[in-house]
């Protein structure tokens, strides 16, 4: 057992302890009961814990030890690009001139922040071969929503009332969800068994009712879509806009560009390709890039440059509007900008080269012991199937849990949905060969155990702070907050 700690902060509370330091009031009247009408005021102080500063530090330090993170463990979560998050990015993001700038500071007093945003937008546009980029979306899913809304506004501006968006059955769940919020009927398109788009079937589905086709390149099986240019041309011939889910951009930096492939829109996940930390589930940033014909519809405001002066342009009457209150997840933009400047064009190309090399190395080392979803070479990730192990009673979940005991976080499991017992492995370029070897050794060990000693897999994990958890109980009897017993 890694650590037997089992406290919540509320259980450490001792009345009278304080963890904060604030000055006494220095103004004449400090009694809120004299300043505000009673009906607005709370009768009792909120039931928050009373703990010392050191209680806080030790508690959260101990909680952190109950997590695996990229800093401590290989984290091959497919589609999430769990690469190293450079420490320099954090130093830079904490400069007061970035971290302590108010969003409504006068533009003349925020020129450095606006310049950074302007340059980052151009860098991303160059990387993706797009004409313009909005940095506002807070995460990939919001970038998707923005992109689909721009497509919708574009069709409307041409007097077209298209009602459907095509999404492959191999897509991330956010694709259909974002599309539905944008007001479209989602039509799922069956992929070929190898995960590629069935181009003939697509051609039959495309009609004047289809607003967009939304696909991930490389696809969610880690393969480049070989007929992609033909596909985007086919779509354009029918007036259909083509959206690229940029989740897998880490595979193609400097190799190929969505804009050159014919895409009209694509989003970027700065927390994947551009090293901003995943933070246990965000914050991310999901900038969205578009071709010139969609530029009038970008979210407001747009950062503009006139001579040496940067400004926020709100006068964009055809804009889809706003996605979050202010200008984007600026703190993440600072980190991504720092990373791009650190790597330069050659460095970014080398990122994709090594991400591809690492994924192919893993695929090669595991192809004898696991079924490969699609024969390689793959791009930046590979998808295996545990169908062989399943016949022995060992599922993808079991393998994931056993990996935790062997000191690795797990690959994505059961995604993409079109692969039985899927294990989606994305090593990223930042991992060294010896880590990849250790992981492959563990995977091979598990394959052997499935044949000879499945109990050790079914019992896993036993080294983590808790063992397998009862998901059914959690959903049937929701317990979503702590309550004082008795």
């Amino acid at each position: 057992m890694a650590d037997a700690y089992d406290k919540l902060i509320f259980e450490l509370s001792s009345p009278g302890r304080v963890g904060w330091s604030l000055p006494e009031a220095d103004v004449p009247e400090a009694d809120v009961h004299k300043l505000l009408p009673a009906k607005h005021l709370r009768r009792d102080a909120p039931d928050l814990p009373e703990v010392s500063e050191f209680d806080v530090v030790r508690h959260y330090s101990r909680l952190s030890r109950m997590n695996y993170g990229v800093d401590t463990h290989f984290y091959p979560l497919g589609s999430c690009t769990m690469k190293y998050n450079p420490k320099l990015n954090e130093d830079v993001a904490r400069l007061a001139g970035f971290a302590k700038v108010h969003p409504l500071a006068p533009e003349a007093s925020a020129q450095g922040a606006l310049q950074l945003m302007h340059e980052l937008a151009w860098d991303l546009a160059e990387i993706a071969g797009m004409d313009a980029v909005s940095l506002q979306p807070a995460a990939g899913a919001q970038g998707e929503l923005a992109g689909v809304l721009m497509i919708r506004a574009y069709h409307h501006s041409r007097g077209e009332k298209r009602t459907k968006v095509l999404v492959p059955d191999s897509a991330h769940g956010t694709n259909p969800a974002s599309t539905a919020i944008a007001g479209y009927e989602v039509v799922e398109v069956k992929s070929l068994p190898n995960g590629e788009v069935d181009v003939d079937a697509l051609a039959r589905t495309l009609d004047t009712d289809v607003a967009a086709f939304m696909i991930t390149v490389p696809n969610t099986l880690g393969m480049f879509e070989p007929r992609i240019i033909e596909i985007t041309e086919l779509c354009h011939a029918k007036g259909v806009q083509v959206y690229m889910d940029g989740a897998n951009l880490n595979a193609i930096l400097g190799i190929t560009r969505p804009g050159d492939l014919g895409f009209d829109v694509c989003h970027f996940n700065l927390h994947k390709t551009f090293t901003t930390p995943h933070g246990g589930g965000g914050p991310g940033a999901g900038p969205v890039g578009v071709k010139a014909h969609l530029e009038p519809f970008l979210p407001v405001p747009v950062v503009t440059k006139d001579g040496d002066e940067y400004a926020l342009d709100w006068k964009r009457p055809r804009s889809i509007g706003k996605l979050q209150a202010f200008w984007g997840n600026f703190g993440m933009l600072v980190r991504a900008y720092t990373y791009i400047r650190t790597m330069g064009p050659d460095g970014l190309r080398s990122v994709s080269d090594n991400a591809i090399l690492n994924a192919n190395y893993i695929m090669k080392r595991l192809e004898r012991d696991y079924d490969v979803a699609v024969p390689g070479p793959c791009m930046h990730e590979c998808v295996l199937s545990a169908r062989r192990q399943k016949r022995l009673g060992v599922t993808a979940t079991d393998i994931a849990k056993r990996l935790l005991d062997l000191g690795f976080y797990a690959p994505s499991t059961y995604f993409p949905l079109i692969v039985e017992e899927a294990l989606m492995i994305e090593p990223t370029e930042t991992e060294a060969k010896e880590t990849l070897d250790a992981f492959c050794d563990a995977m091979i060990q598990i394959a052997r155990e499935a044949e000879t000693n499945a109990a050790v897999i079914h019992d896993a994990p036993v080294t983590t702070p808790v063992r397998r958890l009862d998901q059914t109980k959690a959903a049937r009897e929701p317990n979503l907050k702590w309550t004082r017993r008795g």
Binding site: G19, D26, E29, V32, L35, K39, L41, P46, D47, L48, S64, M66, N67, Y68, D71, C80, P86, V92, F98, K100, H102, S109, A110, G112, E126, A138, A139, G140, L149, G173, S178, I229, I255, D260, T275, H278, G281, G282, A325, F326, W327, F330, R341, T342, M343, G344, D346, V351, N360, K364, R365, Y409, K433, P461, V466, R467, R468, A475, P478, L480
Partner: protein, 449 residues
């Protein structure tokens, strides 16, 4: 030149390629059609060494006025509150910082426990039954609440007070465009929602009535009366509230709110030029299966030991796809962790103190600034830590002069409401001192003279 973020050496690359059976990395790219390939290097600035990059970034940062270089009275949804030192140290622990969504709960108990604590604290502050693990920011939380109210009531109209943050309204309008949900306004001519007008507008087509308290102008709304109006029409009441104020102000849930959303940036999250922020989202129990976003629940493990998992996931996009309650996936977990550590540190008495000091200093500032000839409060309704100040001179002429003297004097309201072109929105947190406020008043007096 080799990159410090990539481990493979040329020799290791060669050995790996040998194992794969490929001659070069180029051989691995065979599936990409030649005409799809980029034939030139990316047109980006060449790589900078760490020392040069720090110099460049420091120079960029130096061109921005910030909360340490100036005395700031800027608010309007983003506030310069006290951030206890441990927060930054704790969130930087790699096990928190570099983990992702806790898909493998056994190896993510730290994140899951902290989210469970967060949900508990937010439910307590807002006076609601359940809170989710976070939405992007206050504005997108309101947008999600509008869509949720639409789906719960099967009605197509959201009625918003004009005293709700105008940028939140714009975000809500963006999200409501696709589903065809209409937005209607209720006026707030005196700085608070005109409830008589609300009663006229809210009807059987209304999915939700939305008020904010303190509202965009800093004034306190009568939430109980708004709840009565919404509920009489069978609509939900959505309240936008800032949780950092809820040590002093009553939780909207206790006053009849069905959904409480808000911006949690004040809970230990840096200003960061407006993001990332922290979208707070809390609701009544009966709405829990319609909520957007992640939820963490307590359960037991194989040995009966307490543990935590993501739960009620059939609401979410990775399971329900086009029928999900929301498209949100990545949220702002790390900002929620900052808020959790903030609320643990401030605790029962500290959060009350933050609210008391902010109120006291804001009221002192209002009385002091209105002693400047020609300067007055635009509205008479009770306010909390922010107020609209009417100036005798156009704010755009006054602000640059005050900025040069070291004051970020407030947010001009002209861009939000032409009728308030002579007004400045002034926010005062517990960080401001009497001396700063007095100096600001003196500078303002000269600037408007």
């Amino acid at each position: 030149m080799a990159s410090r973020y990539i481990a493979n050496t040329p020799d290791e690359q060669k050995r790996m390629l040998g194992a794969i059976g490929s001659g070069s990395i180029e051989d691995l790219l065979v599936k990409i059609p030649p005409k799809a390939r980029l034939a030139r290097p990316l047109g980006l600035t060449p790589a900078l060494a760490e020392t040069d990059l720090i110099r460049h970034m420091t120079a960029l940062a130096a061109r921005n006025a910030h909360a340490d270089s100036h005395v700031s009275f800027l608010g309007a949804g983003s506030y310069d509150h006290y951030i206890p030192s441990p927060i930054n140290h704790l969130i930087l622990r790699g096990e928190f910082f570099t983990a992702y969504t806790p898909y493998q709960p056994e190896a993510s108990q730290g994140t899951l426990r902290s989210i469970y604590e967060y949900q508990t604290m937010i439910a307590e502050l807002t006076g609601m039954d359940v809170a989710n693990a976070s939405i992007y920011d206050g504005a997108s939380s309101l947008a999600e609440a509008a869509l949720m109210a639409h789906s719960v009531t099967d009605r197509r109209e959201i009625v918003l007070s004009r005293a709700v943050h105008p940028l939140y309204k714009r975000v809500t309008a963006t999200y409501c465009e696709g589903p065809g949900v209409r937005l209607r306004d209720v006026p707030a001519p005196e700085g608070v929602t005109d409830l008589a007008a609300a009663r006229q507008v809210v009807n059987a087509t209304t999915a939700a009535l939305v008020v904010q308290t303190p509202n965009f102008y800093g004034c306190l709304e009568d939430v109980a009366a708004a709840a009565e109006i919404a509920h009489a029409a069978g609509a939900l009441l959505v309240v936008v509230a800032d949780p950092v104020n809820l040590g002093v102000l009553e939780g909207p849930g206790k006053l009849g709110a069905d959904i409480v959303v808000g911006e949690g940036q004040g809970l230990g999250v840096p200003l960061d030029f407006g993001g990332p922020n922290l979208g707070v989202f809390a609701a009544k129990n009966e709405l829990v299966r319609r909520m957007p976003g992640r939820l963490v629940g307590a359960t037991v493990d194989h040995d009966g030991k307490r543990g935590f998992v993501l739960t009620l996931q059939t609401r979410e996009q990775h399971i329900r796809r086009a029928k999900a309650t929301s498209n949100i996936c990545t949220n702002v977990a790390l900002c929620a962790l900052m808020a959790t550590i903030y609320l643990a540190t401030l605790g029962r008495r500290g959060l009350v103190k933050v609210g008391e000091l902010s109120t006291a200093k804001a009221h002192y500032a209002a009385s002091r600034l209105t002693k400047v000839p020609g300067v007055s409060l635009r509205f008479t309704a009770p306010f909390f830590k922010e107020f609209a100040l009417k100036l005798p001179k156009a704010p755009e002429r006054v602000l640059p002069r005050l900025a040069r003297q070291g004051f970020l004097a407030g947010v001009p309201l002209k861009t939000f409401d032409r009728a308030l072109a002579d007004c400045l929105l002034v926010a005062v947190t517990e960080k401001r001192t009497k001396a700063e406020i007095d100096a600001f008043a003196a500078a303002l007096e000269k600037a408007v003279a």
